[in-house]
Subunit: 179 residues, 2 copies
């Protein structure tokens, strides 16, 4: 049976720059109770940007939570009241320098619905125009360019290990298969 | 330039049942500093379980962080010192009742490396034997069965919205394409 959990109490633990943490006490069937630890996140965008010669643009970036340099699609947090498409164009420009008029939404999903409300919006950007990157003050990133086959190989070898990047590339590959 | 961030200070904010939260102060180039909010998670497994008649087993479950009933592959948190394959077999049994001797690792990835260290291990389970589910005391779940084409359709329609489930199904679809 699927049961919707009613909140009995909500305790705010932390309010931060990227995330907040609260702990909800919820009611379960048969007068039972449980705690749910919840990370609040404003949502994010990821951009699968494909150059005119059909290369996917990826960024290399040190990720403190995993203490590793990861290969990811350009991405970033949605600012308050920001339109997700404009956010995608802004992050693409900031992280890679590219801009475009051809950008469409591919999909959206929850990254970790077990403990967070983060929604990830994936855009496909094509017909790219080159320009200068404008990274945030605390961002140190480097672009790389891979063909779809190279990207698929890096996923299957475990070199690309970021979920939004894997979803975006597999979804794009699947679209290619259809067309 | 890609730069590895050295930790100067680490402040523990919360230690919970599923997640911990800490805030690290890190050193950036040019004697600059920044804060990194980090969710510690023990890691999780997700199981793409395929029945003898080629149906994927999915579970419907209310997810408090997003206040929605979601359709997901069976999944769960790794217990301390638990082997990931045994964890996958345990979660499959608990949530669906099925067991098997034919289980292989498909892939692993970081769910949200921007703010968490959670690793997700995806297993493919086949040759399933039916049995009784043994859900946790605070778990209320329901199984559904979809063909690969039905699952792909539910992804493209946005009915399936969980990232690990999307990755597992797209990766499986891609394997099918190759074989």
């Amino acid at each position: 049976m699927v049961f919707e959990e009613k909140t009995l109490k909500s305790e705010r633990i932390y309010e931060g720059k990227i995330i907040n943490l609260r702990v909800d006490t919820v009611e379960l069937p048969k007068q039972k109770y449980s705690k749910r630890e919840i990370i609040e996140h404003a949502g994010a965008v990821g951009i699968l940007a494909v150059t005119k010669d059909k290369k996917i643009i990826l960024v290399k970036q040190f990720r403190k939570p995993v203490e590793e340099v990861l290969i990811e699609i350009p991405a970033g947090k949605i600012e308050p009241n920001e339109d997700t498409k404009l956010c995608a164009l802004r992050e693409l420009k900031e992280e890679t320098g590219y801009s475009t008029k051809n950008i469409i939404k591919l999909m959206e999903f929850y990254t970790t619905p077990g403990f967070s409300n983060e929604v990830m919006h994936i855009y496909l950007a094509e017909d790219l125009e080159e320009g200068d990157a404008e990274p945030d003050e605390d961002e140190y990133i480097e672009s790389i360019y891979l063909s779809i086959n190279e990207a698929m190989e890096q996923i299957s070898k475990g070199i690309i290990k970021d979920s939004k990047t894997i979803v975006a590339i597999l979804a794009y590959k699947n679209l290619q298969g259809i067309s």
